[in-house]
């Protein structure tokens, strides 16, 4: 094959590698003489040298074999037998191979000794430090928070007067001692004739206006609590009886009769006030006793009942929210001077 511009690259590579046959060197040099541009190209290509990098494989030792790492086909079968990787037929064949060859039997006995057994005397020394008790901590934490809220609420409840507002005259009557007419007769005040009481009442009221600034000593004759009775019987009477009134004649039998009538009337009209409020204990007991049969009594239901009780007592100043599962998720307190809310559980 003659060298020309279409195939000169193969000749160039062979020339540079020193593989160009001797009988072609003359033709090659003649070609370069006749093609000076390709001569320059050959000079440029021959100048390019890629030096070999000195990379060393670090783990060469792992690839080396010695008498401990060398294995045979028998080793492979022995390990497979130990690991139960052989089929039943191969196991039988392997066992027969062992019995027929004492050397292989000895080799396999060494294999059998390679099974590792854990050293149970080695124990982890800090096992106790790994144990966790987060649930208990959380319960105590939240229990303490809830307890703190209850203490605050109880303190507020103890300080504030949540009883319903009462009529001032009724309150006055409650606070006043009941003085019988006989006791009154022992004092400075003269007994009032019940017959003339109606007559006295009008000027008495007028006098009350006049003597408004004088000290008051209130006395009432009965303990009626109905509004009607209050108007009629809970009269504020001045100790200083108007002197200008005409003197009354003391008739003790009338006074006693009047008092007895008052007592009878009081007993008939006075009814035991309805107990509107239950104590927390009573409320919780009622919740427990009257709970629906299909509703289990749980700690959560007790908490809800207790919070309901506290919310009711505090005039809804304390409120709580429940999550989708009905568990209390947040407790809030809203008063004029203090407002806060405590989330009980984190939503995950």
């Amino acid at each position: 094959m003659n060298i020309d511009r279409s195939n000169y690259e193969v000749y160039f590579l062979d020339y540079l590698d020193g593989n160009l046959p001797d009988d072609q060197i003359d033709d090659f040099l003649d070609f370069l003489t006749s093609n000076p541009d390709l001569r320059r190209e050959l000079e440029e290509v021959s100048a390019i040298k890629i030096p070999a990098e000195n990379h060393v494989f670090q783990n060469k030792q792992a690839l080396l074999k010695n008498e401990l790492t060398g294995s045979t086909a028998f080793d492979s079968r022995a390990v497979a037998f130990m690991e139960n990787d052989l089929s039943e037929e191969d196991q039988i064949a392997f066992l027969s191979e062992l019995t027929s060859n004492p050397e292989k039997e000895k080799q396999f006995s060494w294999f059998a000794k390679t099974r590792l057994n854990p050293d149970t005397t080695i124990e982890f020394p800090d096992k106790a430090s790994l144990l966790k008790k987060p649930a208990r901590k959380v319960v105590l934490l939240w229990a303490s928070r809830v307890a703190a809220v209850f203490v605050l609420l109880f303190a507020g409840w103890a300080v504030w007067d949540f009883s319903p507002e009462q009529d001032s005259s009724l309150q006055l009557a409650d606070e006043q001692p009941v003085v019988s007419t006989q006791e009154r007769s022992k004092g400075n005040r003269q007994p009032v004739n019940p017959v003339s009481e109606k007559k006295i009442e009008q000027p008495l009221v007028a006098k009350q206006q006049e003597l408004a600034n004088e000290p008051i000593s209130t006395v009432q004759s009965n303990l009626g609590k109905s509004p009607a009775l209050k108007v009629e019987t809970l009269m504020v009477q001045r100790e200083a009886i108007p002197e200008k009134l005409e003197p009354l004649v003391y008739k003790p039998e009338h006074a006693l009769a009047r008092e007895q009538l008052d007592l009878v009337e009081m007993k008939s009209s006075w009814t035991k006030p309805h107990k509107e409020f239950l104590t927390v204990d009573e409320y919780l007991a009622e919740k427990v006793l009257n709970k629906p049969k299909d509703e289990p009594l749980t700690f959560g239901s007790l908490i809800s009942a207790g919070l309901d009780a506290v919310a009711s007592v505090s005039n809804e100043r304390l409120d709580y929210e429940t999550n989708a599962r009905g568990k209390v998720s947040e407790i809030s307190l809203n008063t004029r001077i203090l407002a806060f809310s405590i989330p009980l559980k984190k939503e995950r």
Binding site: N66, L68, G70, D75, T114, L116, N117, P125, L130, K132
Partner: protein, 161 residues
């Protein structure tokens, strides 16, 4: 997985994980740290870990931590440390357990780990593969090589005796 499951895992597996790590790393302080780290990781993923797979999870975590520590410290060497037992050792070894203890120290880390998981814990190839992130074929090869090495070690001692 619940807190009770976690605590049960501590009581059931902490010793085994500790033994496994200690045999690999041969440093009690580091082994203790690795066990602590493994259980801390488990605690951090308490809700995502299946209670039935907690043992594999612990061994897997401990294995990878052990490998990390070994590589970091460059204390372990592979077959560079491998050497034939010196003559006279046979007089010191009272039973095959001590011989094996010495021999497994000479095993490469991956071979030693898979062999211990196989023999100590009875894991299958697949389970070891999941724990070590090696392929099942690699696990088989490492178990095979480890057993052959130990067998040859024992055989060498036997011949010397």
């Amino acid at each position: 997985m619940t807190v009770a499951d976690y605590n049960e895992a501590v009581n059931k597996h902490a010793d085994a994980v500790f033994r496994f790590v200690l045999k690999n790393i041969r440093d009690e302080e580091k082994a203790r740290d690795i066990v602590q780290d493994s259980f801390e990781k488990l605690w951090g993923h308490l809700r995502s870990v299946d209670a039935a797979k907690v043992k594999s999870y612990l061994f897997s975590t401990a294995y990878h931590r052990t490998i990390d520590v070994i590589r970091k410290d460059q204390r372990q060497q592979f077959f560079d440390d491998m050497q034939l037992p010196e003559e006279g050792h046979s007089d010191q070894y009272s039973d095959i357990g001590e011989v094996l203890n010495q021999a497994i120290k000479l095993l490469p880390d991956d071979q030693r780990s898979v062999l211990m998981l196989r023999d100590y814990e009875g894991y299958s190839y697949k389970e070891i593969s999941e724990i070590t992130a090696l392929s099942e074929a690699q696990v088989k090869v490492y178990i095979y090589r480890g057993r052959v090495f130990l067998k040859n070690y024992i055989g060498k001692l036997d011949v010397l005796v």
